[in-house]
Symmetry: C3
Subunit: 358 residues, 3 copies
Amino acid sequence: MPDPKPFPLDAWYAAAWSHEIGRDLAARTVCGKDIVLYRRTDGRVAALEDACWHRLLPLSLGRLEGDQVVCGYHGLVFNGDGRCTFMPAQKTINPSACVHAYPVAERHRLVWLWPGDPALADPATIPDFHWNDGTEWVGEGGTFYGLRCDWRLVVDNLMDLTHETYVHAGSIGHDAILESPFEVTHTDRTATVTRWMIDIEPPPFWAGLLGKPGRVDRWQIIHFQAPGVIAGDVGVAPTGTGAPQGDRSQGVNGCFLAALTPETETSCHYHWNFVRNFRRDDDALTRAIQKGHVNEGKGVYDQDHVVLEAQQRAIDRNPRMPFYNLNIDAGALWARRMIDRMLEAERGGRHVPSQAAE
Amino acid sequence: MPDPKPFPLDAWYAAAWSHEIGRDLAARTVCGKDIVLYRRTDGRVAALEDACWHRLLPLSLGRLEGDQVVCGYHGLVFNGDGRCTFMPAQKTINPSACVHAYPVAERHRLVWLWPGDPALADPATIPDFHWNDGTEWVGEGGTFYGLRCDWRLVVDNLMDLTHETYVHAGSIGHDAILESPFEVTHTDRTATVTRWMIDIEPPPFWAGLLGKPGRVDRWQIIHFQAPGVIAGDVGVAPTGTGAPQGDRSQGVNGCFLAALTPETETSCHYHWNFVRNFRRDDDALTRAIQKGHVNEGKGVYDQDHVVLEAQQRAIDRNPRMPFYNLNIDAGALWARRMIDRMLEAERGGRHVPSQAAE
Amino acid sequence: MPDPKPFPLDAWYAAAWSHEIGRDLAARTVCGKDIVLYRRTDGRVAALEDACWHRLLPLSLGRLEGDQVVCGYHGLVFNGDGRCTFMPAQKTINPSACVHAYPVAERHRLVWLWPGDPALADPATIPDFHWNDGTEWVGEGGTFYGLRCDWRLVVDNLMDLTHETYVHAGSIGHDAILESPFEVTHTDRTATVTRWMIDIEPPPFWAGLLGKPGRVDRWQIIHFQAPGVIAGDVGVAPTGTGAPQGDRSQGVNGCFLAALTPETETSCHYHWNFVRNFRRDDDALTRAIQKGHVNEGKGVYDQDHVVLEAQQRAIDRNPRMPFYNLNIDAGALWARRMIDRMLEAERGGRHVPSQAAE
Ligand code: FES
Ligand code: FES
Ligand code: FES
């Protein structure tokens, strides 16, 4: 089994898409914590512990009244700061009666939540997810709620695209991925894997988007921000038109986006999008790309899920078997190291026995 | 998690309705014990451990032969006292071969069972449930088998009717419940919560039963008998006709009945009825009242179950979070104290860390 | 709960029927070990650990390429000996990269697998299952995969046929089974229970097969080979025609076959057949006999499964209750003793607290 709570708490995680949080009570579990989310009348999002102070009934089973939540059992009322403002059949309110209010902020069409120490929650540290804001790039993603695997397995998955050759043969996979060298760079909280495949046949997905015959240069530049955000700058351009040197004007460019949120030790929410900066008004293309990713078990991401959940089941059944690493794991290992370092910092420096050790 | 075995064993619990036990083998789990029940040819009920002495096969998978049970695997026969009277292919019977026979007694249309020490089982201590016997009061109840919550959560639920306002708004709920004072009295094994709501608009359920216009006095007198029986004397009468002073002749009077039986630490059987002492021959009314309580998720009790099971799940997920108490919990706290005291007595006086502590 | 791993590992177990293993990857769990089976191009069966060396993905989710398995995640390739022969994006292969290869052999239409120490795997010790090879005896059996009981409960079940009287009344059960003496003999690795019922009315199943009126001599000679193979020589002949003395020529003779394979501590695979040495070309009879055993819950074996799984659930719920034994258990006790002795040998002589102790 993975070490208990294999996720940093002092971090911003995507808890929902902005459009999902309105004047209903929405329940989410983030890092093992049950949370109820709703939008106040002034538009601000509130995020409260989803267990009534009195008898633990999930507040999400109650109802919203103005900016406050009324518990569905005995009617305790809590405001958006988690403070109890009404108790049935008594005049004085126990001043300690409250539920935890989680720091929360909206940015780039997502609601970000800080499950850890509120005093440390600085909105300036919300990960950069600007590709998702619907302006320069467009796309319609979604969320896989409750994917049954340790969230870090998704990090591994996205930080190495070699798997495309095997998991996604026929759409985006390509032997060239195996043969092309790649480079890993990193800063304190980010890691980047860069791979250029020069003068190759484009795989079907990209050939279709490019709409021009002939060989291409293909790039995959995967950018990780600790603990759980990944943006993959991917595309192709006709070979010889200078893409590797920086001129992508003849090519097509997309970006796959992942905001990963631990739900429990062995499940996660995977907020995803695939955006592009060309043919931005082409809604049919937007829908086709979405369907290519999620399509009743046949999309690219559906294929990944089968692998990820099977991998988790195998980990559960082989608790002591170590992971072995290949050269292709270099990017994932940097990402894991950063996550481990955050865990160690939270635990006062105690060493975290990493699953990413070589 | 609740403390292990949060139920007294030396107590009478309802195991079934009398009409459910006949010449078939009926399996029940009471206080974690698997039990098979059947009716002897002379009409007396037998209750045996539901695991064959030989190889543990549930005896309820066998068959009844006269007054004895034949195991469905290799044919051992047990009489109603649990003694083995036949072994296949051998002449002598191991004299120690027997299964436990539970003290059992029928009263008020229920079969009461004593899961603890048989030497202590005194039928004189079977709880008073006379409202259920079909004479002075009438009604058709039933049993929720395997309700997925600690049985004591149902005690809490029934000992405080404030929740009607929130869980049952639109039928029996009423803001007056919140505003009216109540009184709690108790004896050694009973607790009573009394609440009078004077000169109020009757809620829809009661207005319909009363069939007279105008304001009413409403009463809720909830009577608890340890460990798990509750009878709630409820009704309304036109205000000013003397009900608070004892003359209910102008009103209508019902009684909700609950005989709660722990199944496991976190599940229970809830034998219920709602009886009345007026329009006793009106079968359509009987059915309408039954349907008001249980109606494919829309009845009053169905609403309670959603809350109770959600509460149990929350307790399971928040094992160390204490319960906090409000004034409205006074009746439930007395009930809990009596249950705790029974547990302590069974455990030789060791203190039971109560979930009901203030 | 049963002692952990209540099965010897150094033993041959049936893992599949030969016809089930072809050019697809077949997943099986044997003694708690996940295994992928396939047939090489030269016809030999390979059996590998079903967890990739790299990141544990079950190899059974990959694909077969010639005689090798390609992992479905990042493309590591393993040959039938479990050695890695290809790693993506790197020239040198880590020499330690391999998965366990299990000794495997085909015999009597079954694939036999050795989950323990490969150095000890001697095909000469594969149990005798010749009745199943389709020559002298015919029949069409099958496998109950994942029967939810400790495999040893099936051994108990088959080593004592007294249960036929109770579980299979109306087909093969008969009171004579109870009344007839039986004899148990044993060698180091086998035990045999012999029971003759002389001059009895044949039960319906056998009366139909014999096709002659009148009373019969019936035999049940059950032969156990440790750890999990049972062959039951059963039949009837007209009484007085000399069957007990060895002349079965006037009778009909069948053999029930069981190759039991632990899946987990509390589940097993039950490879079964019922073969006969008469009317061998009568396919309708073959199908009728198969249907008599397995028929959507109404066959003889279906009846056993209800009992076996109920018994396991009872064991799980009564962890400390001992098993008591009757005279009829003598054969099962010898079988259990042999299993216990194998377990002790594997554990370096440490005593195994047997569930078969008297
Ligand atoms: S549980 Fe919320 S008010 Fe009682
Ligand atoms: S299990 Fe009941 S007689 Fe064997
Ligand atoms: S898990 Fe098999 S190659 Fe990576």
